[in-house]
Symmetry: C2
Subunit: 491 residues, 2 copies
C-alpha cells in the first residue's frame, strides 16, 4: 500500500512531484498551468498565511481587497511595469456566453465584447495606485499600510506545482509614505518580517540581499529579496520587498499636501510572498521517504497510532489516548488520533511518514501495561520509549527540538554550499560539481551578468545586505570589482 517515492538521487525533479502529489499537497487541474491545492496543502498554506498575517498586523498593517481585473490601459501607465508584466497575462475580452445556434453547446457571444479589455491581475500596483489617488490628499492620510491576500495570474509557459503556476495565491503589501526614508525603512522592515517568518517558522535559512538592476521588479527602484537554498543546490527566491520610489505615484498622479504645505508625490513600497513558499518548504527539508514538516507550521504536529488485538485492548488504549489527546490540545498542539480501522498500523506509519508529521506516538497493549509509549521523530527517524506520565510536556519540548534541528540542519547544508570562486574555471567547476551559492566578484555591468547567465544558467541571486567591501577582479571579465555577489542557478 505504501506509495512509491522516487529518490532524490534518481530524479530530484520527480522526487519533488511525487512528494507534492502523493503527499496530498496539490494536484494537477484541467486548466493548463493551474493547480488544485488539496486540503493538506491548503492547511499548510493557512498556517503560513495566519502567521504572516499576525506579523503584518503587529507591524501596523491592515488588509483590504482590490478588484481581480485591471483595465488594459492601466498597465501601460508605468513604463517599466508594462514591459515586465504585460507579456504573460490572461485577457478578458467578453462578458457573456450564449447557446450555440448550431447546437454546439455554448459559445462566446460576439456582441458582448468589452470596450476595453480587462487583464486578470498579475500584481496589483496599477489598480491600487489608481485607488490611492482618491484616498490621499494630505500628509495626515499617510502612511497607508495595506496588505491584500489574493489570487494572481501570470501566464507562465513552463509550470511546476507550487513553484511556478499560472494562478497562485499570495499576499501583496502596498504602502504609501510621505518621505523616501520612511518608504525605504518600510521596505527593509518587511524584508526582515519575511526573513524572520521563513527562518523561524519554516526553518529555512535565508540570505537577505538586494537584486541587481536586471533582476529588479518592473517599476521598482530597488528590489530586496530573501534567497534560500534547496537540496539540489539550486537557489529559490522566497520573498521580495520593493522600494518603488515615486514611480507609481507619478504614473497615477498621487500627490499630497506636506506639513510644509507643498504638493508632493507619494513614496511607495510593495512586497509579497506566495504559495511558492510551500514548494520551498518541501524541497528544503523532505527526504526519500516523504515530506518533513517543521512543527511550527505543520498542519498536524502529532499523530497517535494504537496497536491492539481485540476490543478489550482497543478500549483500554482508547481511554488512555483520550487523556493524552486532551493534554496535548490543552498545550495548543495539533494532534490526531488515527484510529481508522480500515488501515493497519504499518500502513499508517508509512502514510504519516510520507506526510511528514513531526512526531508519531504508537501505543500497544504492552506499552500501556508498562505506562510507556513509543515516540518516533520524523526528522531523524529516531525512536524512543517514553513514560506516559508527562508525555504531553515531553512532546511539546520535542516539537521545539525538531524545529531547531531542521533549521540547523538546513543551515549547515546551506553554509557548506556558499563557495568562493576567484577564477572563471573555479566558478564553472563549483557550479557543475557542487552547486549552491557562489560568492564571486562581478564588474557591476548587466552585460557580464547576461553573459554569465547564458554560459551557465547561473544568475546573480543578490548582493547580500551584510556584504563587506572587498577589492577584486570580476570572475568573468577580469575588470575591477569592489564586492562579491552571490551567483546560483535558481528556481
Amino acid at each position: 500500500m505504501a506509495k512509491e517515492i522516487t529518490s532524490r538521487e534518481q530524479d530530484y525533479s520527480q522526487w519533488y512531484n511525487d512528494l507534492v502529489l502523493k503527499g496530498g499537497l496539490a494536484d494537477y487541474s484541467a486548466v493548463r498551468g493551474c493547480m488544485v491545492i488539496k486540503p493538506y496543502g491548503y492547511a499548510l498554506w493557512e498556517n503560513m498565511r495566519d502567521q504572516l498575517d499576525r506579523m503584518f498586523k503587529e507591524t501596523g498593517h491592515v488588509n483590504a481587497y482590490f478588484p481581480l481585473f485591471i483595465p488594459k490601459s492601466f498597465l501601460s501607465k508605468e513604463a517599466a511595469h508594462v514591459e515586465g508584466f504585460a507579456k504573460e497575462c490572461a485577457v478578458v475580452t467578453h462578458y457573456r456566453l450564449k447557446n450555440d445556434p448550431d447546437g454546439g453547446g455554448v459559445i462566446v457571444d460576439p456582441e458582448a465584447k468589452l470596450e476595453e479589455e480587462l487583464i486578470v491581475r498579475p500584481t496589483s500596483e496599477t489598480i491600487i495606485w489608481n485607488t490611492y489617488k482618491d484616498w490621499v490628499q494630505s500628509y495626515r492620510d499617510l502612511p497607508l499600510l495595506i496588505n491584500q491576500w489574493a489570487n494572481v495570474v501570470r501566464w507562465e509557459m513552463r509550470t511546476r506545482l507550487f513553484l511556478r503556476t499560472a494562478e497562485f495565491l499570495w499576499q501583496e503589501g502596498h504602502t504609501a509614505h510621505a518621505t523616501r526614508q520612511e518608504a525605504v525603512d518600510e521596505t527593509i522592515q518587511m524584508l526582515n518580517v519575511y526573513a524572520t517568518f521563513v527562518e523561524e517558522y519554516m526553518a529555512v535559512p535565508v540570505i537577505k540581499g538586494v537584486k541587481t538592476e536586471s533582476e529588479r521588479f518592473a517599476g521598482a527602484e530597488d528590489t530586496y529579496c530573501i534567497e534560500a537554498l534547496m537540496q539540489d543546490g539550486k537557489a529559490l527566491q522566497a520573498g521580495t520587498s520593493h522600494f518603488l520610489g515615486q514611480n507609481f505615484a507619478k504614473a497615477f498622479d498621487v500627490k499630497f499636501l506636506s506639513k510644509e504645505n507643498k504638493l508632493e508625490h507619494v513614496w511607495a513600497t510593495s512586497w509579497g510572498v506566495s504559495t511558492r513558499l510551500v514548494g520551498a518548504l518541501v524541497m528544503a527539508h523532505s527526504d526519500d521517504d516523504g515530506l518533513v514538516m517543521p512543527p511550527r507550521i505543520a498542519p498536524l504536529q502529532v499523530v497517535i497510532v494504537p496497536i491492539y488485538k481485540g476490543d478489550e485492548e482497543k478500549g483500554l488504549i482508547e481511554n488512555r489516548v483520550a487523556v493524552l489527546v486532551r493534554e496535548l490540545k490543552d498545550l495548543g498542539i495539533r494532534v490526531k488520533f488515527d484510529n481508522n480501522e480500515n488501515n493497519r498500523p504499518g500502513w499508517k506509519f508509512a502514510e504519516h511518514e510520507l506526510k511528514g508529521v513531526p512526531v508519531r506516538v504508537a501505543i500497544g497493549a504492552r506499552d500501556l501495561k508498562n505506562n510507556v509509549a513509543e515516540i518516533a521523530r520524523r526528522d531523524t527517524k529516531e525512536k524512543m520509549t517514553v513514560p506516559l506520565e508527562g508525555l504531553a510536556f515531553y512532546i511539546e519540548a520535542l516539537l521545539e527540538e525538531i524545529q531547531l534541528h531542521l533549521y540547523n540542519r538546513a543551515k549547515i547544508y546551506r553554509d557548506a554550499h556558499i563557495t568562493s570562486a576567484d577564477t572563471w574555471d573555479e566558478f564553472r567547476k563549483v557550479l557543475e560539481e557542487k552547486g549552491g551559492f557562489i560568492s564571486a566578484h562581478w564588474d557591476g555591468t548587466a552585460e557580464t551578468e547576461a553573459s554569465i547567465k547564458e554560459a551557465t544558467k547561473a544568475t546573480i541571486r543578490c548582493i547580500p545586505l551584510n556584504n563587506e567591501p572587498e577589492q577584486g577582479v570580476c570572475v568573468f571579465s577580469g575588470k575591477p570589482s569592489y564586492q562579491r555577489v552571490l551567483f546560483a542557478q535558481a528556481y
Copy 2:
C-alpha cells in the same frame, strides 16, 4: 467635519450607499461593477470569515483551493447549470499582450488566442466535480467535506456595493456523499450553521426555508435558504445550501464502489455565503447617524476618547487608560485608544458613531478625579457614568447586552413585518403600504409565481421549513393550496 448621511426616510438607497462609502467599508473601483473593500469593511469580513471557518471546521470540513478558470466546455456539461450561469460570465480568450506596433500602448496579441476559452468562475461546481472524479473510487473515499474561500465573478448588469457586484468574495462548500440521506442531512446541517451564524453573530434573525423550483440554484434538486428582512421592508437572501442529487456526479461521471460492491453515482451538496452579508448587516441595524455593528463581529468593539487640556491632564488620563486597555484586551475585547491629536473629541464621537463602534468610553480630567468614565452605547445612544473600578467587566457585559438588544430589536421588527394576506387586494395593499414578508396561499405553479412577480415584483422567498399544513386558496389564482409561503420584494 461630520460626514453627511442621507436619512432613511429621505432616500433609503442613498442612505445605504452613504453608510458604505462614508463609513469606510468599500469604495467604487475603476472596473465596472467591481468594488474595493476598504480596510474597515475587510476587517468586518475577516471576522465573519473566521467565525464561519471555525464553524465549518467544527462540523468536519476542510479547506482547499480550485482554479479560478473553468474551461468553457465544462459549463455545458450539466444542462440546468449552463442555463443558469453561462449568461453572465467574464471570458478569457487570450493569454498575451504586446506592444502596439503603431505606438498605442499595449494591445492584445492576436496570435495568443486560447484554443478553448476560459471562464472566470461564477461558482465552482463544474471544475470541482471534474476533480472529484479522480479523488473518489470507493465508499472509503467518502464523504468529501471540502470548502473553498474564493473570489467569483458574475457579470451583473446592475450592481450595488456588497449586495450585487461583478466580483465578490465568498465561500463555497462542495461535499460528496455515498447516500442521498447523508447529502440531504449535510445540506440541512449547513443551512443551520448559516442560520446560527447570522442570528448569533450578525444579530440578524432569519427564516429558514426551501426555494420553489423557479428560484432554485441551477443544477440543484433542492435549494434551502435563509431569508432576512431589511429596514425598508425588502427581503434579502443571506445564504443558500443546495442538495444537488446526483446531477453533477452524472455530468462528470463520478462513481464509487459501494460497501455492497456496486458502482454508484456520488451524491452532492454545495452551499455558500458571500460578502453580500456585509450589506445585510449594514441594512439590518444601522440608523441615520451611521453604521451599527453587532459587538461579536465588530472590527472594533470599544473606542476610548480622552478629553483633556494641557499635557498634565493628558498624561494622567493616558496612564489610567493604559490600564483599562490592558484589562479589556485581557478579556479578548477589541479596543482602540483614540489619542490622535489631529482631531477634537466631538469629531471623534461623530466618526466612531458613523463607524458603528458598539461602546464609546470618554474620560476627562474631572472623570478621572471622580474615578468614573462616561460610557455611550451606539445602539440606543444611552450615556452612563460608570466607576473606573471594574469597568472592563462592565463593558464585557454591556457588549453582550448590545448584541442581544440588536437581535431582539431586529426580530421584533421582522416579526411585525410578517403579514398574512388572504386576498389579492390584501396582498397588494400590504406590499404597497407596509412591505415585509407576506404569508399567503399559493397554488404551487410556476405560472402563478411568475404572474405575481410581474404584477408586484414580489417573489416567493421560501417555503418555511417549520410550515404548518393549512388548507386554503391561492391568493392570486383562487386554486386550492395546502400551505402558505412567504412572498416579499427582495434584494
